[in-house]
Symmetry: none
Subunit: 239 residues, 2 copies
Amino acid sequence: MTELPPSTEQINSLILLIEDDPQIRRFLRATLTSHGYRLLEATNAQDGLRQVGSQHPDLIILDLGLPDLDGLEVTQQLREWTSTTIIVLSVRDQEQDKIAALDAGADDYLTKPFSTGELLARLRVALRHSRLAAPDVEEPVFTAGDLRVDLAHRQVFLKNNEIHLTPIEYKLLTILVRYAGKVVTGRQLLKEAWGPTYTTESHYVRVYMGQLRRKLETDPTRPRYIITEPGIGYRFKVE
Amino acid sequence: MTELPPSTEQINSLILLIEDDPQIRRFLRATLTSHGYRLLEATNAQDGLRQVGSQHPDLIILDLGLPDLDGLEVTQQLREWTSTTIIVLSVRDQEQDKIAALDAGADDYLTKPFSTGELLARLRVALRHSRLAAPDVEEPVFTAGDLRVDLAHRQVFLKNNEIHLTPIEYKLLTILVRYAGKVVTGRQLLKEAWGPTYTTESHYVRVYMGQLRRKLETDPTRPRYIITEPGIGYRFKVE
DNA sequence: TTGAGTTATCAAGAAAGTGTAAAGATGGTT
DNA sequence: AACCATCTTTACACTTTCTTGATAACTCAA
């Protein structure tokens, strides 16, 4: 096998392996470390997600069949705040599974059993990309006034005090923040937070915007962050 | 997670297909164009390389088995000056071929016969990447005198002070601005802002033009921006 | 100058949209 | 089974926007 010599960026690349099968884990550990990669390991989705947030790996190898959470779900959750390369491993060779994973945000998909050489080659491709694409190692944290939204850790702070938000509250806030400064229609919020079948339940949005304001605004009747655009929707205000 | 806004870049993406087999070419032509991609075709490496230089496609689908030049060679030549995504198609399923192609600079590798759905999914992955890498596009902002209309943020400023407009007011202003310098008839304004069933209510337009002037003009009786063209309609004045 | 048709202004009532509290429903946990 | 957090649903008060009619001002041609 004519492998290329480990290049300098490979040597320093940090890879997170999320895989529950001890045998595959052992095998990949040997392969990857012997090729000069630094390795982190997680045996379940929960721990994997946590480590992505805390360790910031350069690349994620994700087994689709984890015990605690579906791999698709993991991919989607990651893609809400990071664009770190995800290579999916799976025993499923069905076209539908591949398409679903790739469209959920995965960057590559390999079917088990895979060839080691191909995995390493695809790893090199991915790392080549991420080096070109991301010279900035900026933390995905959104800040505005006293408010801080840490997308990686799913935490919201107001003057350094953590604010607890329910899943829907948080989801709505991240949507507003993603379009910061722009108006988001109630319809769009419903579609993104509840799904496309809820687009008529416009009162949901009002209830939750009220709750968000109660938690985030000093004076909910005179909001600084979440501005209503009557007849249109809501906007996260930026200076 | 719901998908991001229907990516206009996908619809308009230009793909160069370098493939000598007429049958596969015909098949891919049908598949790709029916999915909204714009397509260029080359039947040999020579022509393919030429077209990359002259047409600047967003993505290249490259058959490895071309008559005049080896696909590896093509990849290497391209990588000397461009980082345009290359997806390789090949009948060769050998690990060595894949590794060689990927290390030569290809971004993905599919073995014939490949599944259409997977190809399309991997296409979406590649285009997603190139979109992230692309620099931000300028947001559309209309300016005239002290007035600034920020279409992307749905905001209107007068000497840097934000002016609040109701939905209809804003709608009418954007119509006028869209036809800046040209006369827009009352009928047309009614049709665009209220809908085709209101085209007789010419009264509405007068009321709202008055409101707009009150908000935007320093002296509403001597308008600088919104000019009445008696007997015809209104015109947004440009110098 | 006069008068008919068009345009501008104003303000009140109607309609639509929004904010808020709180009760009921749901689902998971102990 | 009782608890808890969260989500859903309802009801009502409130705000903003839209519609409408009355009236004044203007334009242009006879």
